[in-house]
Symmetry: C3
């Protein structure tokens, strides 16, 4: 876990949605967000983005960055290596911090940490579990690039069974109207039934197909993902087959509508060829940058809660 | 080693004990501190604690935090891996720093580093050697929780042979009047004769016992420690026996006097059961937090020395 | 790769060489620098050095330090471990940074990174390739210690075949007039022909010798280097022989002219004996400190380019 010390500026600046309480005290999973809440987060992320473009306001942005204490390899170098529980680590670290951003190899670790903590916890990915800030930046990027989240067609491509980002994204898109999803996945990593059932219950249309070119021509967003080698253990033959099946290349790009975009949570291997990078429809590096604004917005909104807490106690 | 760049605020602010010279230029071992010096450090730590509670003064606190360059794994990634001596590393690093906080696997490394350095060195634990800042925060916590360090009864529990914190704590308690110590340890990790002899020479009463319940009912402070697996190499049978012998649980807590506290240097395994954590007498997380104030106080006091040095040269 | 966030001070302060464009947008290899450019960098480094001595200006210096996000072990913990290309890493990281300082195990990585980046890249060593900031601090140190770079005699000692610093230094010295170089190397690690040919083409005199005492008595600068064990694989006999051959000790120092200095890029093993450290002619720790000023100067000069770029776009 790494820590983030509460910047004064955040405490002093009036919020853009002053008077309105931010309802979350932790960010643990995509299920916590509805469209209103997503809208409020997007507003704050937009303010962050504007600030960065204004050179004079650059130092405000820097003020928001606070001070970060990080550990890259807590599994080996923290007290966890001596057998300390996650709860004890959290209770120790929160004495020195204003917010905890936790990346952990175990599913459910973020919820466990939030239960132990008296300060906000942000889940930065807990194993095969959730990665909610990635999902938030994905929908924020669609809003920024396409201009709307209602009435869109989205193709989800690649490892749909294990990819936590694509599962969370499907979940969040279920909050909007008139969304149609296309699932394009190798047989061994098809979208699982829990997400399909959820979408059906939300009246979200979906279909499975293996015609990537057709999907490219119809969709507003093509969301490509990496086939993860570690999911195949020693079945390298299956991995090789799955990995080569659905590639986004110049040929695929030529079928896109001019307003459409290709997204990818990164890192990328060869599921998007590099000659595509210069295409204006290739939006994945802009998407990565949006992660900065979304995470700043979450820090700002969550720290307000903390500051309120501090004043009450 | 990691570095701490001297904050301006420290240089400019008048010290709370202005005019009085801080006598240490490095913090290497518990033996360096007498009760007067401990009192001065406690005063500064108390100021730090007050500052943190005052929200408006929070930025003063942040100013004291300075800028830290850290390495988690110097053994592998620093020039030490190429065979550089500790002295050469220190002489290089001090060119970029105002103070060096060193954690090292070798006993005596802090003294060796201080001899080479022209800036202050703080020993943050050198192998089985000393860990003086832990000992300082331990006595500071007793002062804060019990209100005094004279005329107290302290039970030291667990690994008393190898635990450097408990040995340093016994050493520091020898500076106070009317202290009585109880040693509660499995046979294989009993308190060693050097500390017993030192205490006897200082007229500190001590006794060995295996009756933890009796100790709990008599003491102002029960100081529990972890049995360290690495001390038993392949004798897992001895480890298991030692580890299970003296556990602080709800039953033990029920015997404590209402003003008494349980301390632990952390990390904890199961030598204190987690159902004890919510008991107001369980003070170990408050103790961990006190580490922040004590270390800030040391930085402030040592950096004054450095600044004086800088002005002279 | 680690990142450096552009400090406001740099953007606002007028440069000491205002109006004059800094011609580089990246620092990749020693070949990029001519004497005029070296002179301009030295001027800025000198300003940095003066600032540090002025206590009141210390905070200006601190402002220049910016905020650094670092990773010690990107090979294991970054997305590179999942197969991400260096280009993709750079494109992601540049969204959060103002400048990238890259240390990489692969020769040519810095050039590759600079081609992908839209922000400045500084090569902090790419495998057996270049390490230009080390070469710059070396010539800066000679200028500071000896007072000139023209008309000097320099002895290069140790591993001249593999040492990238000594090769870069020879290259830069080729820019000055009346330089004479002496190569003192064990047979297995002699200076290679490409550098000899380059020097000859620049009318730089050079000779090979094994008489270190004679070189010490004639030179203004003795530049000692470490024999790197990893270059000898399993030929430990050759390594031992090479390592013991040319040692700078008190006896060697006694032959130096009083104005002469011994330099070393550090880390040092036993090729300079420790009893030499206190000799005023032993300049290697001052040399290490100069690295701070040179790198600050490069940051300042390169960030101006970036800020100009930002204002134009």
């Amino acid at each position: 876990p790494w820590q983030f010390n509460c910047p004064q500026k955040i405490r002093q600046n009036p919020s853009s949605s002053a008077g309105q309480r931010f309802p979350l005290s932790d960010v643990i999973e995509a299920q916590q967000f509805d469209r209103d809440l997503l809208g409020r987060i997007f507003d704050v992320a937009g303010v962050m983005e504007d600030l960065e473009k204004d050179t004079d306001a650059h130092n405000i942005l820097k003020g928001l960055a606070g001070e970060v204490l990080t550990t890259e390899n807590a599994r080996e170098f923290s007290s966890a290596a001596k057998g300390e529980t996650l709860e004890d680590t959290i209770r120790t670290v929160e004495g020195y911090s204003d917010i905890i951003v936790l990346r952990h190899f175990k599913s459910g670790a973020a919820k466990q940490a939030a239960a132990a903590a008296t300060i906000p916890v942000i889940n930065a990915g807990d194993g095969p579990g959730q990665h909610p800030t990635q999902a938030l930046l994905d929908v924020y990027t669609i809003q920024r690039e396409i201009g709307r989240l209602d009435d869109i067609k989205v193709g989800l491509v690649g490892d749909l069974a294990n990819g936590r980002t694509v599962r969370s994204l499907a979940y969040l898109l279920g909050k909007y109207h008139g969304v149609k999803l296309f699932f394009v996945a190798p047989d061994v990593v098809k979208m699982k039934d829990d997400i399909k059932d959820y979408l059906t219950s939300k009246d979200v249309e979906w279909e499975e197909t293996s015609d990537l070119m057709d999907v490219a021509s119809k969709c507003d967003v093509v969301y490509q993902t990496r086939i993860q080698r570690e999911r195949f253990s020693d079945r390298t033959d299956l991995y090789a087959e799955a990995r080569g099946k659905f590639i986004v290349d110049k040929h695929t790009m030529s079928r896109l509508q001019s307003h459409a975009v290709v997204l990818h949570p990164l890192p990328r291997l060869d599921e998007i060829t590099v000659d595509v990078d210069s295409d204006p429809c290739a939006a994945y590096f802009r998407q990565a940058k949006n992660g900065l604004y979304i995470r700043m917005a979450l820090l700002k909104l969550l720290l307000k809660v903390r500051c309120r807490r501090a004043f009450k106690s």
